[in-house]
């Protein structure tokens, strides 16, 4: 027994001294190499195929064709696309979203963090729980509540005022921009709250002590200090707005209101034969625009570190007294929350228990039929199963990818750190619809070039796309938390004789476990809600819930069934979130640690 053990030990010794070091280095190289290569492929390759498709006279996968500028000519000079109008529409949506996010998100952040506003805890909960509602459900909620034809609230107001039509139309471009903007308020809030919390209150106090009034202090000290955070949140909202699809598509469809994303979508999915080349050309034009913004975003966020040097540590958060405005202000905010969030959800629930919905409550026709259909319909069941597979698979792949690349960029002196970091951010500039189109083209080509790698028509293509969409946010979470772990902890393990693998297993991964879990759930939660990628890449076998909802709304029997499915979807997500909360996982605290 003992000789056996010592033999084992000495073998291990020899192994470690002779081979171990080399093997360990090799493992490290392979692990990090695979992860970074995968990231590069996933972010760059779809764009390359997109570009190729845009200058190719044939279909993706068709070899008998040639390079051409015909697609661009068709987009800009042809009759099918009103490019100038699309550009202006996209711009107005993006500006509207950004302004709404700025006013409401930043306003809420400042009021909740820096003032003694009563009941702000409850307000924050309501505001953040809306992250559980995907954009398309959001739009449907607004149709049932405020739509000029089928809106319950709109009809009630109309009757109360005794007028034929309301002056405000939810489906006007600014209405759409406002609703889409409300949807990004939680994001804007989360991006600006940490800056407000990290700011040393002494910086403001000292301004007042040395003579500046409260408004002057906000203008000269507070706002400039959080400017980097505001700018980066603004750019994120703007980029999101330029690529916004779901809400515009649902609310704008009646007026023929088109933005880049909807135009690209309908060129591929709504035309026969599909206008692949033209869609690609249109997508490429938008991407050039977006890249400029991402470059600016990088510059802004890089400069942020300058400001951090003096404000990095946590401070006691001194709140400003609102005085006699406390309760009136709280009442106004609750009223806004009620109108933009609570009431639409309520109307959605009411809608879901009606056989048909015409904007009137009909107590005699209440029914749970739609809920019954929602859980028994075989197509819906299949879609639900697919959604679960995509969410779990995407969360797992995404977590491995972002933790690996974050380790590579923050913990090694690898040559491509800067490039990898940049690549993990680029999907910010690539709207889901365009990425979906890129993936579609990629695998149409790959199917021809290397048939055994053909992912077209599988769930894997959806998984891959979803992972890329959430790369920027999830990798920021990973990087932000990795820098909080002192590298000395890992170095100490190496000095104490551990190999890289042992160090990873014993020190880094256990320390990083919480972040890993949070990233996984974050991805699972968001991927299951994502519409754009599956919508561009699904086939009849790979329909997921968001796609099914979209189909049912546009071509289906009625909005009441859609409302029922949406309600179930919201309930499940909220239940899931509350469950996680019980185990101490709160996504919105990520940035604050």
């Amino acid at each position: 027994m003992s000789s056996k053990r010592s033999l084992f030990e000495s073998t291990q010794q020899v192994f470690r001294t002779l081979l171990g070091a080399a093997l360990d280095r090799a493992t490290r190289r392979v692990v990090l190499g695979v992860v970074t290569l995968l990231l590069t492929f996933l972010t760059v390759v779809p764009l390359l195929f997109l570009l190729w498709t845009s200058v190719w006279s044939g279909y993706p996968g068709e070899f008998a064709a040639e390079l051409t500028v015909e697609n661009f000519r068709a987009v800009y000079l042809g009759e099918y696309f009103a490019v100038w109008e699309i550009f202006l529409n996209s711009l107005s949506i993006a500006v509207g979203i950004t302004l709404t996010g700025l006013v409401f998100g930043l306003g809420a952040a400042w009021l909740f963090v820096r003032t003694d506003l009563p009941t702000k805890g409850g307000m924050e909960l309501v505001l953040l729980s809306c992250q559980a509602i995907p954009g398309y459900v959001y739009a449907i909620m607004y149709v049932t509540a405020y739509g000029s034809e089928r809106g319950l609230v709109a009809a009630a107001v109309r009757d109360a005022l005794g007028v034929e039509a309301l002056p405000i139309d939810v489906f006007s471009p600014w209405g759409i921009a406002f609703i889409a903007g409300i949807n990004v308020v939680p994001t804007f809030y989360l991006l600006t709250v940490p800056a407000l919390q990290d700011m040393d209150p002494a910086l403001e106090e000292v301004s007042r002590i040395h003579g500046a009034s409260l408004p002057a202090t906000i203008r000269i000290i507070s706002l400039p200090l959080i400017k980097p955070a505001i700018l980066s949140a603004t750019i994120v909202a703007f980029l999101y707005g330029m690529g916004e699809f779901a809400i515009v598509s649902i609310l704008g469809v009646e007026n023929g209101f088109d933005v880049y994303s909807t135009a690209i979508h309908s060129a591929i999915k709504g035309r026969y034969p599909p206008g692949y080349g033209e869609a690609a050309a249109l997508a490429c034009s938008l991407l050039v625009l977006m890249l400029v913004f991402v470059w600016y975003y990088r510059r802004v966020t890089a400069r942020k570190t300058e400001f951090m040097t003096l404000t990095g540590r946590r401070h006691r958060t001194d709140v400003w007294s609102l005085g006699r405005w406390r309760w009136p202000l709280a009442a106004i905010i609750w009223a806004v929350l009620l109108v933009v969030w609570v009431l639409p959800i309520f109307v959605l629930l009411v809608t879901s228990v009606h056989a048909d919905w015409y904007g009137q409550v009909n107590l005699s026709a209440l029914t749970f039929d739609h809920y019954f259909t929602a859980v028994t319909d075989p197509q819906l069941r299949k879609a639900f199963l697919n959604s679960i597979i995509v969410a779990v698979g995407g969360a797992t792949l995404g977590t491995v990818l972002v933790v690996g690349t974050a380790y590579y960029t923050e913990r090694t002196d690898g040559r491509f750190r800067g490039a990898v970091d940049f690549l993990s951010l680029t999907p910010l500039a690539v709207p889901g619809i365009i990425l979906g189109a890129g993936l579609l083209f990629t695998f149409l080509w790959v199917g021809e070039l290397v048939p055994f790698l053909n992912l077209y028509g599988t769930l894997l293509i959806i998984i891959v796309g979803c992972v890329v969409v959430y790369l920027p946010v999830s990798s920021r979470i990973a990087v932000g938390n990795i820098v909080q772990i002192h590298a000395e902890l890992e170095e100490a393990a190496r000095i104490a004789g551990a190999t890289w693998l042992q160090q990873m297993r014993e020190i880094f991964l256990p320390l990083f476990k919480n972040t890993t879990v949070v990233i996984w759930f974050f991805l699972a939660m968001h991927i299951i809600q994502l519409l754009s990628i599956p919508l561009m890449t699904y086939t009849s076998d790979t329909v997921v819930i968001p796609v099914r909802l979209f189909q049912l709304y546009n071509f289906g029997p009625g909005i009441a069934l859609v409302a029922a499915i949406s309600s179930i979807f919201i309930f499940l997500t909220v239940g899931f979130l509350l469950g996680l909360r019980r185990y101490g996982i709160r996504f919105y605290e990520l940035g604050q640690r």
Binding site: D200, A202, L203, E205, V206, S207, R208, I209, H210, G211, A212, S213, L214, A216, I220, I221, P224, L225, K227, E306, F307, T309, L310, T311, D318
Partner: protein
């Protein structure tokens, strides 16, 4: 010159949820005077400063700055109307502004008699006084700790405030820089003649700078007076211990067989009448203190009226510009630390005879 107090606080009260409360603090700072608030961390000294600045609202009491009531049950002026300057522990130098922009801020916002045309000269003058003129256009993020400190000080003084508040201004600096800044502060205060309230937990700083010291403990004033008095013979054992007289040890006042009253300790007995006894006293437990400078190593001469005792060296070494040795007395828990001006080549375990004059033994009733 104005002889009225620049700051008058009476009955200041502030209650906190659980930790402690400020109870009825009275305080004055005279014209051209430096007053130090000295106490351990968490004793409420920073809270007092924040109440004076107006960034915290007290529960009761009045605060008058330069004969102007800024805080009372009816009045609570905002910070910008109190005409003061303040230096934070963290300096609170605005990271998005240059040194010049930081310093010119009070001129642009506070009320003062300096015409706009003179702002630049005024800022340049104060930067020169702080010896950082060459940094004027540097962004504040590029400054070292000492430079940030000077910037914060310049900003607090540039508009000639009625009162300068300092919250542990030197505690983030390293030892060398702290000594230098201590000296600079004194020089600047003398040149400008500003009234200053200085919060610190470092007794050295307080004794070096202050004209008067107020010792705080758990939100209440323990003792106040000029530094010499507090250093030589404070009224309370808390102050004695806090102002850094080392060598505290316990004892009892008893009456010996001859009928004389003595202070009896573990290793030596001293007649009570010859000690410095700080309270009226019956028999009972007392706290005794001996300052390291007041103990001598016998053989140094002049030991006529000294009380002698023998112990064993447990630690020795050079400390700053003097020699320090710690001696233990057999069979007791007491160790005495001794400072000598000359270097001595002692080693651990060596036997040593120490002596001290009875009048240097300070005796306080135990609390």
């Amino acid at each position: 010159m104005n002889t009225e107090p620049q700051l008058e606080i009476s009955g200041l009260k502030k209650r906190f949820e659980s930790e402690f409360e400020l109870s009825k603090i009275d305080l004055t700072v005279g014209s051209d005077e430096i007053v130090a608030l000295l106490g351990p961390s968490g004793c409420g000294k920073t809270t007092i400063l924040r109440c004076i600045a107006g960034v915290e609202t007290p529960d009761g009491g009045t605060i008058r700055i330069d004969d102007d009531t800024v805080e009372s049950p009816d009045i609570s002026k905002p910070p910008e109307e109190r005409h003061i300057g303040m230096v934070y522990q963290s300096y609170a130098v605005w990271p998005h502004k240059t040194v010049y922009e930081n310093v010119v801020f009070p001129l642009e916002h506070a009320s003062h008699g300096i015409p706009r045309a003179n702002y630049r000269d005024r800022v340049e003058g104060i930067l020169e006084l702080m010896e950082i003129s060459e940094l004027a256009d540097e962004p504040a993020t590029d400054l070292s700790g000492g430079q940030q400190q000077r910037t914060a000080l310049a900003r607090a003084l540039v508009h000639e405030p009625d009162l300068l508040l300092m919250d542990e201004p030197l505690s983030n600096l390293d030892e060398e820089l702290r000594k230098q800044m201590r000296y600079e502060l004194q020089r600047i205060q003398q040149e400008l003649g500003v009234s200053m309230l200085y919060v610190t937990h470092d007794q050295e700083e307080a004794f070096y700078l202050a004209d008067r010291i107020v010792v705080l403990r758990d939100g209440a004033v323990v003792e106040r007076g000029p530094p010499e008095k507090l250093y030589r013979s404070p009224d309370s054992p808390f102050t004695r211990r806090f102002v850094g007289a080392r060598n505290p040890f316990g004892g009892r006042i008893e009456t010996d067989t001859a009928g004389d009253r003595i202070v009896r300790t573990e290793f030596v007995d001293v007649p009570l009448s010859e000690t410095e006894y700080m309270s009226n006293g019956a028999d009972g437990d007392v706290d005794c203190f001996l300052r390291p400078d007041d103990i001598a190593i016998c053989g140094d001469g002049g030991e006529d009226d000294r009380i002698q005792m023998e112990g064993t060296v447990v630690a020795e070494g050079i400390l700053g510009d003097r020699y320090e040795v710690t001696v233990e007395f057999d069979g007791t828990d007491t160790e005495l630390t001794v400072h000598c001006d000359q270097y001595r080549d002692l080693s651990r375990g060596e036997r040593l005879i120490l002596g001290f004059a009875p009048k240097t033994l300070q005796v306080y009733r135990s609390q």
